[in-house]
């Protein structure tokens, strides 16, 4: 007696996207049950439900871990010392930014206006000419 082969794509999807817990046994159980005159639609439905359940379990675990992280970090953040440190960090950052902005040197415009171009129109060439009009780079 030859075994009925269930839909390959459904099996493939189940193996790659299905729930992590005892996946091999779940695929084997579906295979075994499919031999009892189950339809292809039944197999597809079971595979689809398995993938949805597997993904939702993963998402729920992630959210639970995230909630646990938030739950443990929130009280620590609200302690007076942490609040004081936060205020100090924000103040220091603001003061540092202001100091840097005020003390930053103004860079001169390093270009020269030349009026002796062949077209007779003034043109701007890169490089600082200096006070005597001699063009020169850095």
């Amino acid at each position: 007696m030859t075994a009925r082969v269930p839909p390959r794509i459904a099996t493939w999807l189940l193996e790659y996207l299905g729930p992590g817990y005892r996946k091999e046994s779940l695929v084997g159980d579906l295979f075994e049950e499919y031999q009892r005159d189950r339809t292809r639609a039944w197999y597809w439905r079971q595979a689809f439900v398995s993938i949805v359940i597997g993904r939702s379990i993963g998402l729920r675990r992630f959210l639970r871990r995230f909630a646990a992280f938030r739950g443990t970090s929130a009280p620590r953040r609200s302690t007076p010392i942490r609040r004081l440190l936060g205020v100090f960090a924000v103040t220091a950052l603001s003061a540092g930014t202001l100091t840097w902005a005020c003390a930053a040197p103004r860079t001169p415009q390093r270009c020269t206006l030349q009026s002796n171009s062949p077209q007779g129109r003034p043109s701007i060439v890169p490089g600082y000419a200096g006070l005597d009009g001699q063009a020169g780079g850095r």
Partner: protein, 109 residues
């Protein structure tokens, strides 16, 4: 102190199906048992999700069997109820009986 774990409806059904005196409870048989006794078909993935939760709570243990050709070369996972699981199932069953004892308009078994 360990936090008390409560059983959901499907978990209780799965645990009771595993506890039936048969010794070789695995996914398909558990799903068939539940379908026969409750009259509703459950997805195998739901059964496995309940089994995972029960094993995580310490109410079940599992062991892997040998792969067979009739299952496409996949192994079965056999489940067995632990002493804690049996006690929890009995307590949940007794609680349900006590709660349903005073239901209006119906006789309880």
């Amino acid at each position: 102190m360990r936090r008390r774990e409560y059983l959901g409806q499907l978990e209780l059904m799965v645990l009771l199906a595993v506890m039936r005196p048969r010794g070789d409870a695995y996914g398909v048989l558990i799903a068939r048992d539940i379908a026969d006794k409750s009259g509703r078909e459950v997805a195998l993935a739901s059964v496995y999700a309940a089994l995972e939760r029960l094993e995580h709570k310490g109410f079940l243990t599992s062991s892997l069997g040998q792969p067979t050709a009739e299952r496409g070369g996949k192994a079965r996972t056999y489940f067995k109820a632990t002493a804690t699981g049996v006690r929890e199932a009995r307590e949940a069953h007794a609680t349900l009986l006590r709660l349903s004892a005073d239901l209006p308009g119906g006789e309880t078994a």
